[in-house]
């Protein structure tokens, strides 16, 4: 039995608040996020049957909108179109294919035909388009005849930003050198009033003037300045622009040197104008971590934290409060005094926890990756080690994700070594079910690239597994069963190899190279390899001790 963690459905009027909030949070820089009602709900063309939401445990975590309209595509030619817009997914749910699934919902010939839709278009970040829209939806970038112009009328946004106390605190925390900095820079450009930034006594002041006593004077076209500060390698672009005399810099050498030493700070401040960090203020308050022991009710937040921390992994039992209480709190050797919880006192949110059993196993140790790992994990390791020493445990051990280099650093600091890798083994009991599940996740790609009927013949199968599997892929979809049907490709392999392929621990090409997999006819080998590469678990597996101890 399969359960999809995320459900996708059409928008309902009662979803308005949730969707509005989602869009506002995702696009705060555009009209302060307050435009959903005008753009969609109150739009005379609004059609709820082409707005989809993604739901997890009853909570809306993502949404995607189509706006129906017409678009002119020829001198006298107007066709029906959908504008794809306001695709938003909650930050903590990103990276799980939700955006992809949202974009594919309602995407059928019937949907387009019944509404007379001929094209679909979007205005997107080119990187996102390259990664998602083009491969998934076939979007093509059109050659535009558009130039975008801008003019800065005043520096109010920047002035407000630097005089904001929270921003000042965050900047001081991020750039401690600001405390000793004594520097003034004036920016002169045709497209904007002059801007002077003064860094003094740990504070930053921004004014719209051109004083005579500045340390550094920078003259440049704003376009050049913006492109330099938005570049991947800012220093390189800056030097290039100076060399090409697109930016002129005057000032004392020592002060110029100070600028290079504080480049990060300058970048952060000036980026407010063009592409401000959307969540710059999300940690406006410096987190105040406190560690305490478990209290009734913590299990709800703990379970959410666990889900968030291991969102990208498989291999564990998805937590709910009931399961967690049984597998942690009620476990032999575990008492409340051995469960440590780190909270951020600013909002009392749980940002880390550890469940220590008195014989030395830390059954679960988990932290919010958005927080300071060194402090949070350090607190947890410190408390659990102290506790276990008092319990006279001989050792302390816990499972963690292999590739978590931040955690590794903290563990080494606290005297933990990554010694062993616990061994999990799995056996596929229902090959048809597993293949159908994997195929469902890659349905669009399979339908697009393959039109085949594949018969898989397995040898050395356990008695409870059928030795044949049939997969048909065509325009109608993907069909999987365990009977023999006419086929276009025959794949012969043994059960262990096939299981390893599905589990993602063996690649199809390696299986062929090792003669563990044969394809008939031979000319279809590359097709079979390509197809099988779509039918693999795509997540690495993490198993907390509490799941099997």
């Amino acid at each position: 039995m399969v359960e999809k963690m995320y459900k996708y459905r059409l928008f309902l009027p009662q979803d308005s608040d949730a969707v509005r909030g989602l869009v506002k949070a995702a696009f705060p820089n555009f009209l302060e996020g307050d435009y959903w009602d005008w753009k969609h709900f109150n739009n005379p063309q609004f059609d709820p049957s082409i707005v989809v939401v993604s739901e997890k445990d009853g909570e809306i975590v993502g949404c995607s909108h189509w706006l129906k309209g017409n678009i002119k595509i020829g001198s006298d030619l107007v066709v029906g179109s959908f504008l794809t817009c306001d695709l938003a997914v909650k930050p903590e749910q990103r990276g799980r294919g939700i955006a992809r699934e949202l974009l594919l919902q309602r995407r059928t010939r019937e949907t387009f035909r019944s509404r007379g839709i001929v094209v679909n278009y979007d205005f997107a970040d080119p990187r996102l388009a390259k990664r998602l829209y083009t491969p998934l939806l076939g979007y093509t970038k059109v050659g535009v005849a558009v130039k975008k112009y801008a003019k800065v009328l005043n520096w109010k946004r920047l002035i407000d930003f630097v005089s904001n106390e929270d921003a000042g605190r965050i900047l001081l925390r991020r750039f401690p050198k600001l405390r000793e900095l004594n520097l003034s820079i004036c920016f002169k450009s045709k497209s904007a009033p002059p801007l002077t930034l003064r860094f003094m006594n740990g504070k930053i002041e921004a004014t719209e003037n051109e004083p005579s006593d500045v340390h550094i004077l920078v003259e440049a076209d704003l376009r050049v300045l913006v492109s330099v500060f938005e570049a991947k390698h800012v220093m390189t672009q800056l030097l290039k622009a100076v060399f090409q005399r697109k930016i002129k810099i005057k000032g004392k050498f020592l002060k110029l040197y100070e600028v290079t030493q504080n480049f990060g700070l300058l970048k952060t401040v000036l980026r407010v104008i063009s592409t401000p960090e959307p969540d710059f203020f999300s940690h406006a308050q410096t987190p105040k971590y406190k560690v305490r022991t478990f209290e009734d009710g913590d299990e709800i937040e703990i379970v959410r934290l666990f889900d968030k921390a291991y969102a990208d992994y498989g291999g564990f039992v998805p937590r709910d409060p009931k399961y967690w209480l049984w597998c942690c709190l009620q476990r032999p050797g575990v008492v409340r005094e051995g469960i440590f919880v780190v909270v951020d006192e600013n909002d009392n949110s749980v940002v880390g926890y550890a469940v220590a059993g008195k014989w030395g196993n830390i059954w679960e140790l988990c932290y919010d990756p958005a927080h300071d790992v060194e402090t949070v994990v350090g607190m947890l390791l410190g408390e659990t080690t102290r506790y276990l020493e008092s319990m006279e445990a001989a050792s302390v051990s816990f499972n963690a994700v292999e590739e978590d280099s931040a955690l590794l650093k903290v563990c080494n600091k606290f005297g933990f070594e990554a010694l062993i890798s616990p061994r999990m083994y799995l056996s596929i009991l229902d090959t048809r079910g597993v293949v159908a599940l994997l195929a469902d996740g890659k349905r669009e790609e399979l339908i697009r690239y393959f039109d085949e009927a594949i018969l898989v013949k397995l040898k050395d199968v356990p008695a409870w597994v059928k030795d044949t599997l049939f997969v048909r892929i065509d325009r109608n979809g993907v069909y999987v069963d365990e009977n023999v049907h006419p086929y276009t490709i025959l794949v012969k392999t043994d059960f262990t190899t096939f299981s390893s392929l599905l589990a993602g621990v063996l690649t199809p090409s390696a299986a062929v190279a090792q003669s563990k997999l044969e394809v008939e006819p031979f000319r279809k080998t590359s097709t079979a390899i390509k197809l099988l590469s779509y039918l693999q678990f795509d997540a690495k597996w993490f198993f907390p001790m509490s799941d099997y101890g």
């Binding site: 009209l31 678009i71 278009y121 205005f123 005849a145 009328l153 946004r157």
Partner: protein
Amino acid sequence: MESQYQTRTFIQGDEMKLGRLFNKAHDWYVGFVPRTEDYWRWCCLNRPDVSREGIIIVEEKTNREIIGYTVVGKSGNVWELCVDPNVDRKYVVSVLLENAVSYLRKVNADQMVLNVPSDDLVMQLACGKMDFFELPPDQMFVGITDFEALVGALAENVRDRLGNFRETVTFRLLNARSWINPVFSVRIDGEVQVFENAVPSGFSIEVDSDVLAAILLGNTNPFTAVLRGKLKVNPFWKFRKAMSLLNALQIHNSWFYSLADYG
């Protein structure tokens, strides 16, 4: 010049004229939503950051004919700016831009942003004169959801240009996504008829669906697609006919979109 025109702000009833002016001013371009009265009202007048004072209109003093307008949002976005192509645009564009800047200063906006057609030198010069700087334009991405409808519509649109072309062509789309019909035919013989499946045809064009989209949208030359092996004509001696058809179907107009169409 100045005495000929006057400037005012929006009044009820202007919607239809402004929408018509927009369509006229962008007649050569593609990629935008053709304005209707209702659409213009929703997308400009009812926009959250737009008030009537931000809709600045230039009209002829004598007959009150609207020859230019701009819709400026308090956010600093110039949602639309158009001028009748048949008037002296230089003056009108300058007036509109100056008024937009004044308005934005009045409402304390910190910046002004607008889209301008890249082949509109008058607008570009005016922006340059007013010390605007250039930003990278937003990118538009288009996907074709109904190839046979689009090919049919394009063929209908260029029927005159097709001249003596009298053929039935079958398109076979490779790697077509699930919502795309992979095989369809188009008969062009004075009229254009589209069939949702393959019918007996003079020749067939076998092409990757993404490549055909790029060809129709004007991104790729059909001949280049042939050279790269992405497009095949069967039988091959119908190659020239296929090329002339695809060249005729290509959208050659420039794509322009005002901020109002996607903001």
